[in-house]
Amino acid sequence: MAINGISFGNTILGGSIQSLKAQMADLQNQLTSGKKSTTYSGMGANEGFAIAARSQLSNIAAFTDTMTKITTNIEVANTSLQALANIGTQLQTAANSGSQALNSAGQTAGQQTAVAEFSSMVGILNTRAGDRYVFSGSAIYTQPVASSDLILDGNGAGQAGLKQVISERNQADLGSSGLGRVTIASPTATSVSIAEDASPSVYGMKLSNVTSSLTGATVTNTAATVNLASNPSDGDTFNFAFLQSDGTSQTVQLTATTTLPPPTGSFAIGASAAATATNLNAALTTAEATASPYGAQLTGVSSSAAGVTLTPAQASVDLGATNPVDGDQVSFTFSLPDGTTESVQLTASSETPTPAGSFAIGATPTATAANLNAALTNSIGTLAKTSLVAASAIRAAHDFFDSPPQRVDVTPPATLATATGAVNGTPANTVQWYTGDAGTGSARATSTVRVDPSVTVQYGMRANEDAIRSLVESAAVLAAVTTSPTDPNGAGQVSSLNARIAQNLSATPGRQNIQNVQSDLANAQTVMKDATARQKLTQATLQNIVDQAETVSTDQVASQLLALQTDLQASYQTTSMLSQLSLVKFLPLG
């Protein structure tokens, strides 16, 4: 501001003094606030860097907050996972070494433990970290798992629980004859045949193989074959659905063709319907072998051509004209619903009484065949009431915990004992055990958070992940299955159930287990640790930039103040002296 007053007669001097006083006030402000100025312009040329640095600092502070929060979540999740893993170990121990003594409720001591542990598993899966459910995937405010009572018993108002689903499956697998949906017959006087009762069908035991060392006997093993009512035309398609042992379904499509040789996935149309059917069956066998080498069940057939039927698989032993000798063996292998295989092996015996697992050699092959028929019926009946019951329960549990759950299709005329297909359970008729997010993507990706401008960590979990679900299934089966204490096959049922549970609980290469989930979370923690370390370094640098641009050194300001004080004093002194220097002062008054 230009000084136009002339009180000292010297505007420059007055201006300088004003400027010195302004500087003094400014320095005093700096000294008390520690900052260069209160405005952007006062901060000097480096203020732009300070603004950018503050923006980054604010981001880093937000990331730090985020990581604190996420670390807590992960720690809670880890504790839960560890508890689940411990329960798995305890269940396995119980299944391996448990006594088979049944209490009045029809359960062993190990199973009773499982009831309690299943309930605590449900509790663990409903763990919350802060306000979010840890095992719900992205539906973090939805309780992921229904209560253990509801899961096991249903709600009595139409929603079936696990126990009911196991019971229904049990009936469907055993069939009305209790032989596991196979029929045993004698096509000729000297032969015994065993056939699946329907095809395609998902229930019962499936013939897998038959071997024989019976002297003079002829063994035939026929897989399910396709019958054609009429010759298909070029381009007709045939779809075969296979249920694999892991519960997934796979479809194989075969196309009728006139091209020779037929390309992969096709079969040649022959001269007659029968000739074409032969080609189709050959192609199907090949396709089946590649599609599901083991334990697959044909569960459905659909075709663009009409009149397609299936002849179920069957096996037969024809003793022919000669009787087997002592020690000759015949063995039938079955696939059970849970993917395990069991064999029924019968030995020809002339001992009296005929030992278990043997059939008596009769006077003629016809009499022997009748004995074999009876022994086979007995052994298969026992197998059905022991291993099949256990396998059925395990499979039923697997279906129940599937999404959507699979129920026995009893659309008339089918009944539980004659059902061949499965149907999706609806929320109205079946308890939905998992109510969290059921997306198809990676469970870990359901909770993704950025912890650095370019780094994200994933820490989501779903209760229906393979590792957790298989653990839940095993505990639930043990908790749900009851065995009648008076059932002569009870001990067999319990031991085959225990054996299967123990097997299922042990780690299988290629299948996800709890440790895999834990190591995923550990990776996330490591990433965050690295990010934190990086951010600490950056933070220090950025803070330095801000400080350099905006803060003042107290020592420096103090010394500047001192210098200014000296200047100001000198100026005042000079001004005062100048004001005295006037001729008026030296003129005589009179």
């Binding site: 503050r54 958070v449 008026v584």
Partner: protein
């Protein structure tokens, strides 16, 4: 020779001494009077007989250095200009707040992004959602407050102009009035000196308001002109300035050379002959306080407003605008089908094609429904690109015909309607190949299935950047921006972007998108913000834009402060130089006083000697 002539000479000496004494006393008395110029006595010898000569008082002289005076007046204008700019820019700095503390745009912005980051970590959490909304509101309010701060400063400039114009008129009238009085007086008349002092003071006052040139002619009449040549005072006639002040300015109050479109005051100068000149339109005032006010009101502060408006507009668009690609049409002729149904006024339809020399061109067709706003300026930075405005209100057929007329021929493209879609294909001449077509539209609903949402609105309306004949929607947006009321009513929409199926609570897609847009996405900013140029607009993230314009403003304030200080030194030095000559120096006056005292005594002594000689003569005769 006679004794009586000696007596009368001594007598004239005494008279001259008395006159000189009265001037000294006048000088001493007026030592502190502003504008007073020290006077000296002008005296001459006169012959009063055969020998010896008496002294005659002719008048007074003003001890004035007119060269320094005219220099001082020029610098006065510059000084007032620099002071006013520095002072207002300093106040503008206060509008931006204290760095690192709350109440600044950067703090509000950083809080907003931090809250979004926290929402990603606890998505669906109501507390986290409402803290995002609170931070968004704080940011919107900070933008509103900055706008109102800037507009207050503009209103102040307007008021200051009004006051300045009144002062200028008073000074001009006074100059003319004094000219009239001085007409009948000689320059050395003591009364004239006083009047001239007053006239100089009035001219000095005027010189602080605007840049002027004062010319005094031989008849002691001073005419005043602006340096651009407009006559303010011509002898006894003064021009009249008038200013139609507006009570308070908003961001949309803009000066325009067309008085019908201008919504701020302008300065009119009515010459004595009745002619009227618009002083702002003719850029007649280039310095002084008035020029500073005009510069601040119409340029500097408008640019500051453009900066916050651009920030608000980018903030709103970044979160709400979605680009949808057209579906390819296999030819020939090949091209794309684009759905224009969601293109709102201000949204655009974009086509990219390559010409026969394989150079890529892009055409941006902005929906402008107000025919008075058409054609819009081509703001494309790249010379290969084009921005045109098209009226969409007439339906697809009308759009097709406008596009074919405006760009179809030059770009070798053919536009046609394909059902409800716009089909863009080449014209079959192989001169061009359509490589892409898309629309950029503003998402209107909070749960459209897309992560974009209109988080910020222009009061209750959607911000689309619409252009009308009177104004663009961007103008003053920072003063009107607010958080979407629908979102405030339903904060869960910060997470839920889809209603069927409902977005799960843990889905962070939307909050991640918002965070990315605010921290790492880059945008292009209009050159009217003072950053970048039309050919190379400033591109960067929103935080970097914020940093840039705050830095630009702070360095402008610093520079203005330095310029003002430098100018003050110049003015003070000149004033000092002027005062050294024109001011009253007490020492000089005292010295003169002693001299006068002695001279008076000497003259008196001469008289007493004459008397005694007379006495002697008389006694001798007796």
């Amino acid at each position: 020779m006679s004794l009586s002539s000696a007596l009368s000479i001594a007598m004239s000496g005494l008279r001259a001494n008395q006159a000189a004494l009265s001037i000294v006393s006048g000088n001493v008395a007026n030592v502190n009077t502003p504008g007073y110029v020290a006077q000296t006595l002008v005296q001459d010898q006169i012959v009063s007989g055969s020998t010896g000569s008496g002294v005659r008082v002719i008048g007074v002289n003003r001890t004035l250095d007119t060269f320094v005076q005219s220099q001082l007046r020029t610098e006065n204008a510059g000084g007032a200009y620099a002071d006013q700019i520095a002072s207002v820019l300093g106040q503008l700095q206060n509008v931006y707040g204290t760095p690192g503390e709350s109440g600044t745009l950067e703090a509000a912005y950083n809080n907003f992004t931090s809250a979004l980051q926290a929402l990603s970590a606890s998505s669906g959490n109501q507390a986290a959602q409402s803290s995002v909304l609170n931070a968004a509101q704080a940011l919107a309010q900070q933008l509103n407050a900055t706008t109102s701060g800037i507009q207050t400063l503009r209103s102040n400039a307007e008021q200051d102009m009004s006051v300045s114009v009144t002062q200028a008129n008073a000074a001009m009238t006074q100059i003319a009035h004094l000219n009239q009085k001085l007409q009948s007086l000689s320059a050395q008349d003591p009364a004239a000196a006083t009047l001239m002092d007053q006239r100089d003071t009035a001219i000095d006052q005027l010189s602080k308001l605007m840049d002027i040139r004062a010319v005094t002619d031989s008849t002691n009449q001073t005419s005043v002109f602006t340096t651009s040549g407009i006559q303010l005072v011509g002898g006894v006639q003064a021009s009249t300035l008038s200013f139609n002040a507006q009570s308070s300015l908003t961001a949309s109050s803009q000066w325009n050379a067309d008085p019908g479109k201008s919504s701020v005051g302008t300065i009119m100068c009515q010459l004595p002959n009745g002619a009227k000149i618009d002083m702002i339109a003719s850029q007649a005032i280039n310095s002084g306080q008035i020029a500073a006010d005009v510069q601040l009101r119409d340029k500097t502060l408008v640019q500051a407003q453009n900066q916050v408006d651009q920030m608000a507009a980018t903030l709103a668009s970044a979160l709400s605008d979605v680009t949808t690609s057209g579906t390819a049409v296999t030819g020939p002729p090949s091209g794309f089908d684009t759905d224009l149904s969601n293109v709102l006024p201000g949204n655009s339809f974009n086509v990219t094609y390559t010409d026969s020399s394989n150079v890529s061109h892009s055409i941006s067709v902005v929906r402008v429904d107000d025919p008075t706003a058409l054609p819009i300026p081509n703001t494309a930075a790249n010379p290969n690109d084009t921005v045109i405005g098209v009226n969409f209100s007439g339906g697809l057929a009308s759009i097709v015909s406008q596009l074919n007329t405006q760009i179809g021929g030059t770009a070798h493209l053919t536009f046609s309607a394909s059902g409800s879609l716009l089909r863009t294909v080449d014209d079959g001449s192989s001169a061009s190949t359509v490589t892409a077509a898309s629309t950029t539209t503003t998402v209107q609903s909070l749960a459209s299935g897309k992560p974009q949402l209109p988080l910020f609105t222009d009061r209750a309306a959607l911000y689309t950047g619409a252009i009308t004949g009177t104004a663009s929607q961007i103008t003053g947006l920072a003063g009107r921006i607010q958080v979407n009321a629908a979102l405030l009513a339903d904060p869960s929409k910060l997470t839920v972007y889809n209603t069927s199926p409902v977005t799960p609570a843990g889905d962070t897609t939307r909050s991640d998108f918002l965070y990315d847009q605010l921290t790492s996405a880059t945008f292009s900013y209009s050159p009217n913000t003072g950053l970048g140029a039309a050919a190379a607009p400033f591109k960067g993230t929103l935080p970097s834009f914020l940093q840039q314009f705050v830095s630009v403003q702070s360095s402008a304030a610093t520079t203005a402060q330095q310029v003002a200080q430098g100018q003050d030194v110049v003015v003070n030095t000149l004033q000092e130089k002027f005062n050294a000559k024109a001011g009253v120096n007490i020492d000089t006056e005292m010295t003169n006083l002693i001299a006068l005292q002695n001279s008076y005594a000497a003259n008196a002594h001469v008289m007493s000697v004459v008397q005694s000689m007379m006495q002697t003569l008389l006694q001798a005769q007796l």
